[in-house]
Symmetry: C2
Subunit: 351 residues, 2 copies
DNA sequence: ATGAAAGCGCTAACAC
DNA sequence: GTGTTAGCGCTTTCAT
């Protein structure tokens, strides 16, 4: 194999501009102590030759790598990709992360890491050693993994923990699950609903409880009952179906249901259909996450929008700031979600 | 900011094992001329210290970077991510590409490049200079961009061209669009359909024509008419709706329609509903691509499965082989697609 | 404000 | 088989 060398290096630029390597280095890193005339001359050579610094060489010399690593759980991600159920978590991560990285001249590298194995640490350490990223973005369930957090802390790499309320090192960011749940509940209350049920998600994820809390507090504030109105699922379709059957089997059945994610909402839709309950005229349905599928069901689903892209974008920003030693805002950073009204919600039948 | 150095380097391993750097290098690269006892000793030190070679240093020394770059069109990708219509092209690319890369100790880096701008070349050159990947995977419409192909050829980087039949340098891979279209057509013929219409895609993409060709040749082979049975769309929902109206407005309307992608199939579904034509009893519908949405429509759509993951996986494999100087199979490599029967196809009403 | 020299971690080339 | 040397492209000292 032919060895590939850098086509244009800092040497070529220095020679072309008739200055030292160091001066070129100063220009490309936008450092002080370069006269503007000099700077212009060097920049002209850079443009002329089409010079781009090598990340490898930069990293070698002990400087930044301009790489930010985004870590996702391997099993779950591969399962989602294979199932092709329309989950676009990864896409939204890339959307938020890559674009923000590009703004700062960084690059996002997406990696899968196996959470559940006992060698998480080794795996992550290997990835870091190989890539030497300037920062790491953790997503659930890694965000609260003490092994990972400790490792990153020891390596002194700035890292963001998405979906974590903090405690320990790292930059904690959460999407505002509680407010989003409150918003959804408020929407239904405003439509005239009083018996609003909630299908909770897996208790493995802290956000499941945050969502329940939001619903509960809004119900309380409106003086509405919550007893018997929670069913616990685990984010799967099957669990959503079971939860819905439980809720709709109730003698005084709810006129509205909020499901903690889209898969469970989909199940609720199907169960309602089976039972001959029409949506939205006889039952309103709100779903969580706003993944693509909610646009294609019939009726389309009113949904809470999980601000994944925005959150990752903020994470990137904060990592870069942290790396530069800038001051960070108080944490956890709370990212506001959205709410999209579609066809699955309306005033209750006998409001 | 504290400068981060590699925690464990080849030096530490060499010292620990009591050998030279070069011997360690030989072991980690699995090169010949190391006695197995020596190799074991070095490996023990590597494991003990948790050593992982630095990609940057490897690249610096003129060797491989173990990075493979996958390039997608920026505008289109961002539009897809933002629209959240369930397109999982990127996910499938990552699925096929990352897993195959991991098998060989490589890493896939996903990048966006702006096709339509006149500085494609500069942009791509910059990315290559920064990352120095060992290979590049091109997707449409980049695969047939002569500027890009020439650039990569000159840089002597192995590259794959997905969706290109070849001509010029690089490894050409296509999904077997023609066969897939034939398969879909055959499925409908076997069900008893005789008037089978086809909604073609944008002529900007060569695969649009390949799909038409497959349908046409299968129809011919079965002695069935094709005149007046093609409507041209451009892969958008709107164009699909217009095409469907045109086809169903025909006095002797088709009993089945094949749409060149899922968005247009979705439109066909909606138009049929508007016209009071029931699917599948009065009209069979087959869609192309098998993106997530076809699982959620009502009825669910029988669809041709575009083997994106498999194709990217093959591309990675061939790039690595090419880089090692191994012989490659004849091209274009043709990757077989799949076919998934769901609810939208059945025997025609008056068959 | 600019330049020169040293070194980052690794591998290719060559010596032994 | 194994060790030694040089150098990759860049940034960090430290001079000037």
């Amino acid at each position: 194999m032919a060895r590939r060398r850098q086509a244009v290096t800092i040497k070529h630029v220095a020679a072309d501009a008739g200055v030292s390597l160091q001066t070129v280095s100063r220009v490309i890193n936008d450092e002080p102590n370069v006269r503007s005339a000099m700077k212009a001359r060097v920049q002209a050579s850079i443009d002329k030759l089409g010079y781009v610094p090598s990340i490898a060489a930069r990293r070698m010399s002990g400087s930044r790598s301009y790489l930010i690593l985004a870590i996702n759980d391997r099993d779950r991600t591969i399962a989602d990709w294979t199932a092709r159920q329309g989950t676009d978590w990864v896409d939204q991560m890339l959307l938020g992360g890559m674009l923000k990285c590009a703004e700062y001249g960084y690059r996002l590298i997406f990696e899968l890491v196996d959470t559940h194995s006992d060698h998480v640490e080794r795996e992550l350490r290997a990835t870091i050693a190989a890539l030497q990223p300037d920062g790491v973005i953790l997503t659930p369930p890694h965000s609260d993994n003490p092994l990972i957090v400790r490792l990153l802390e020891r390596q002194r790499i700035p890292f963001a923990r998405i979906g974590s309320r903090g405690g320990g090192a790292g930059i904690a960011l959460v999407m505002d699950d509680e407010s989003m749940a409150r918003h959804a509940t408020r929407h239904l209350i405003d439509l005239g609903h009083r018996r609003i049920a909630f299908i909770a998600g897996s208790s493995e994820y802290p956000l499941s409880q945050w969502r329940v809390d939001g619903w509960e507090s809004e119900m309380r504030a409106a003086g509405l009952p919550t007893a018997g109105l929670v069913a616990r699922g685990d984010f799967t379709y099957e669990s959503g179906a079971a939860a819905t059957r439980q809720l709709l089997g109730h003698p005084d059945r709810p006129s509205a249901i909020i499901a903690s994610n889209d898969q469970m909402a989909l199940a609720a839709l199907e169960v309602a259909r089976e039972l001959g309950i029409e949506i939205p005229s006889q039952l309103s349905l709100v779903s969580f996450d706003n993944t693509p599928i909610v646009r294609f069901t019939q009726p389309t689903l009113t949904a809470v929008d999980q601000p994944v892209a925005e959150t990752v974008s903020r994470a990137v920003e904060m990592i870069i700031k942290a790396q530069r030693g800038e001051k960070l805002p108080p944490q956890p950073v709370i990212v506001a979600g959205g709410f999209v009204e579609r066809e699955s919600t309306s005033a209750p039948a006998h409001g």
